[in-house]
């Protein structure tokens, strides 16, 4: 098994989008997600020496981020009052109706779908890690951010025909990788 090494100078370029998408769906707040990622990077730096190289850099950072998310919820929960449960069915006729109200509603399905979509997003980012870093950045800017061809060309100092060649290669590689890992 290959021994993985940490390179904190590349963390932001390589993993910030992945960590961000992982965090945002769990905390649902851009600012909180940003803070958590920032904390993750710092915690990673501080415990760098404990990294044994058995996991990949990304898996290791995600495990730190997971803990940060749990800590975040612990903190917010301890600030809240205790949850109150009230059952207001005093007459015998309606007794038991509240049980029906507890049954999972259609929102549940949406939440599941949402989770699956996030996993799909993470799978896409994982696949993009396997292609040339610059090409991945160009693909993300064009496809995910929806930037104009002109803007992307200017940013990366490439010609439009160059851009389309890069996009074509990225799309082909991505489709192949997703076919292998997602379906």
């Amino acid at each position: 098994m290959p021994i993985h090494k940490l390179d904190p100078t590349k963390w932001v370029d390589k993993y910030s989008d992945y960590l961000f998408n992982y965090a945002i769906v769990r905390v649902n707040d851009r600012e909180v997600a940003n803070d958590l990622i920032s904390e993750t990077f710092l915690a990673g730096l501080n415990s760098k020496d404990n990294f044994e190289g058995r996991a990949t850099e990304r898996t290791w950072l995600i495990s730190i981020l997971k803990r940060k998310i749990i800590d975040h919820y612990r903190k917010t929960n301890s600030q809240k009052g205790q949850a109150e449960v009230r059952i207001n069915y005093s007459d015998s006729e309606n007794n038991g109706d509240w049980l029906e109200e507890q049954v999972a509603d259609t929102f549940d399905r949406t939440a599941e779908d949402e989770m699956e979509n996030t996993e799909l997003g993470l799978a896409i980012l994982e696949c993009l890690e396997q292609i040339n870093e610059k090409h991945a950045a160009i693909f993300k800017m064009k496809t995910i951010d929806g930037a104009d061809t002109e803007a992307v060309c200017k940013e990366f100092n490439i010609s439009p025909s160059n851009l389309w060649v890069i996009i074509h290669r990225a799309r082909t590689a991505l489709a192949e990788c997703l076919e292998k890992n997602w379906f």
Binding site: T9, S16, F41, L42, N117, T118, I124, R171, L178
Partner: protein, 87 residues
Amino acid sequence: MPKRKFFIFDCSKAENCCDKSQYNEAGTREKISMLMHLILCRPCRKYTSKNTKLTSLIKKSKLKTCSEEEKKAWKNRIEKEMTKKKH
């Protein structure tokens, strides 16, 4: 893929047009030529269906990216912390 030419369009042109149309950047005339090519070219039809599927998957995933400013701020923090550790 072996290059085949049907109606002024060869496969690489058809693929290029297909890529562009995923971003709504293909012209009408270009698209018509591509469609004519697709009628006769099976590999390109396969490529187009894969490509369209990929577009819908990306859309479905609702991926977000971090802004450059956010990335810069993180990079600065990491750099700062690293130099602090060195001293």
